[in-house]
Symmetry: C2
Subunit: 431 residues, 2 copies
């Protein structure tokens, strides 16, 4: 083979780092054939050289300081799988670019927060930052959007971007158990981290959404403007009512171009059971795009785990080996548009709301009046169970309304004291 080998340094030897080494070594001849050149890991970096990692790592040069690896002249590509939006991961990526190396990362937090600066640095040195592994694990969604759909003007996208949340919601629906119990089980199974905050509060989904928005719309990444709500407050009761009404509750990330600007939202939604995305269950992720000419397309697969994430990193390595270059965010950074953020008042849709009330005369009139006073019109009402002493749920769905009006109505209902707890509401998305 006449082309020189592509030499890889892997920084971070957790699940993904070990996975990358495994994918490359177990399939080395296949990958070399696809790249028309040898691809080999030459160096690795992690804090503890003595930790058992289930692989023989003795053939690789060991760096206890990843920043030293970034200056190694025998490395062409640095794979950053340390994680974290700042600190050593960011320093490493910057240093690797400054030393004229390609970078591949699975770090969505880093791209979501510093992606624009990193893209400028990469352009400056003429190197690539690959980040396919940062969104939807092994599903090549970054490639699909930036390249496969590049002939289309994407108007909206939405997706299930966090496998932990989707697993929890799927389990809650199938077993009727509550959030805390299923979360504990997910932690035991390794589907949720010991500190699950980033996942269950929607932050991880928002990092991924910020990336998808930018590569789909060609605008500067804007994580801070995302409206984020997690799944902690979703109750088995809401999941049951959703089923009764013909919906499933999914945590979605959604980005939409509107006349008022770009909406970016992460929150639980009710989606009709007839929608394909309603059937994406467990740890699977899925992304749906809608664009000019091509219409609607959907992509689905495992959103995390050693194998899928490592597979995405290796796909980026193969792109680099073949000199297939892509603008980090769809267009060169100088052409990225500043994002015009749509105000929350522009959010329009139907909603589900649940009230815990006593079964007394006048309660429903109070609710109906508050909705009416704020211009919110009801589509359907459902009451389950009757009790003079205990709280019983009343749920309703609204016709199309703006979210601000709904929130004003719910606040008025809460102030009126007919409810035992603050009303819950979930947006209905009729994809």
């Amino acid at each position: 083979m006449s082309n020189p080998p592509l030499r890889i340094g892997v920084a971070g030897l957790g699940t993904v780092g070990i996975g990358v080494i495994r994918v490359l070594s177990e399939q080395s001849s296949m990958i070399s054939a696809r790249c028309n050149r040898e691809v080999k890991v030459v160096a690795i970096s992690a804090q503890d050289p003595n930790k058992k990692r289930g692989l023989d790592l003795s053939n690789y040069i060991w760096y206890s300081d990843p920043l030293s690896m970034a200056t190694d002249e025998n490395i062409d590509v640095v794979v950053e799988v340390i994680g974290g939006s700042s600190g050593i991961a960011k320093d490493l990526v910057e240093s690797a670019l400054n030393n004229k190396k390609h970078v591949i990362t699975a770090n969505k937090a880093l791209i979501a927060s510093a992606g624009l600066d990193l893209a400028r640095s990469a352009e400056h040195v003429g190197k690539t930052i690959g980040f396919e592994a940062a969104v939807a694990g092994g599903v090549p969604i970054v490639k699909a959007i930036r390249e496969g759909l590049s002939g289309s003007n994407i108007q909206q996208l939405f997706g299930i971007l966090n496998g932990t949340c989707n697993y929890i919601l799927s389990e809650m629906r199938e077993t009727g158990r509550d959030f805390d119990e299923v979360l504990g089980e997910a932690q035991d199974l390794g589907y949720a981290e010991a500190d699950p905050t980033f996942d269950i509060d929607g932050v991880d989904s928002a990092h991924k959404l910020a990336i998808l928005t930018s590569i789909a719309f060609g605008c500067e990444i804007n994580f801070d403007s995302i409206q984020i709500e997690g799944i902690r407050h979703i109750s088995p009761l809401d999941i049951q009512f959703a089923s009764d009404l013909g919906y499933r509750i999914k945590l979605l990330g959604m980005a939409r171009k509107t006349e008022a600007g770009i909406q970016q939202r992460v929150h639980p939604c009710m989606v009709p059971v007839s929608a394909p995305i309603a059937h994406v269950e467990g740890v699977y992720n899925a992304v749906v795009t809608e664009g000019s000419f091509v219409g609607r397309t959907m992509y689905e697969g495992r959103g995390a785990g050693e194998g899928p994430t490592a597979s995405a990193v290796v796909a980026d390595i193969i792109d680099i080996a073949l000199s297939r270059n892509t603008n980090l965010f769809l267009v060169p950074t100088v052409k990225l548009e500043r994002m015009q953020v749509a105000p929350v008042s522009s959010y329009i849709g139907s909603y589900y709301a649940r009230f815990m009330v006593t079964d007394k005369t006048g309660v429903f009139a109070t609710i109906a009046n508050a909705l009416n006073d704020n211009g919110v019109s009801m589509e359907s009402v459902l009451q389950r169970g009757r009790s003079k002493n205990e709280a019983v749920p009343v749920v309703l769905t609204t016709h199309e309304t703006d979210e601000a009006s709904l929130i004003r109505a719910l606040e008025a209902i809460e102030r009126s004291k007919v409810v035992f707890e603050p009303p819950r509401f979930v947006k209905i998305e009729s994809f």
Copy 2:
């Protein structure tokens, strides 16, 4: 902009050709930004210059002979959307390559039959043949498999590859009408061609499957070895029984690596309603892949039509504009493996079979004995309706068996004269 424009010639001004011109002209500034250079159609070719095509074509150089366009020195990329596996389309592609132009085609028949020779020619001159539009319309499945999943060793793939057939089967299920009636309606709606043979007999699906097999497995394309069966014989009765048993009937293309070699099949299958592909309805296409490390991924979208197909052609144009090159069939042609074709006797699975019988003592014993004699064991039996005089259907599903044994059993049953018509059978795929 400092890069020279990329100059396109479009041969064939049917739906797709006009679509390509429309996508490029309506989105010219967006596409130029994504390509870092201008992309412009400079020449077009079709037989009749006077035909109304709904677009102003007066700014383009007109070639009534596409082969003359292939020699135009002011063209960088020839888009072949004439169609047909031989004749002018093939001559044009060969001539364009010989004249050192990139080629983009939506022509699955051409790639399926002559792809290997064309790939060699393209390598010889160092040019690209793009054919994203040849499979699954606007869904970037060629890119997903060749690039996005290139870190994975794909073991099997299957998909709904023909929108016409999927529309017909969806309509038959929803309305209970028979094949001929729904086909006629599909023709009126433009979802089926005046001569629908290639679609409904599975040939179009097989062309696409041959391409997917080759790019997924890195083997020489082998259309002739595909076992092909279409949907003409699917009756509303079978669709109804499938529903009763928890299945849907879909025309699938399937490729699988087995110890006996590679299986490539196109035929109607029963898929469980719990499988995501069961919910791909109407003119939509979907492809599912299963490979090392990444596991199962799925891709879905509109499989045909002006917009989706043109969008895929334009994605290929953008790849060329950015010099993103890919081996036509995953690896360089010298590294493609000769396909070892698995014999039909290696096909193992469960089957559905339907018999039209008179409701007489002994009939069922005859069927059961024939199955038993051939080593086929039954899983379930279902009878609908009773009549002493008319044929009534008996259906059964089998445990896992090889297809050759099943066929021998069905032939024995047919010879025994207890049935009014040849038994029908459909393979059950438990994805």
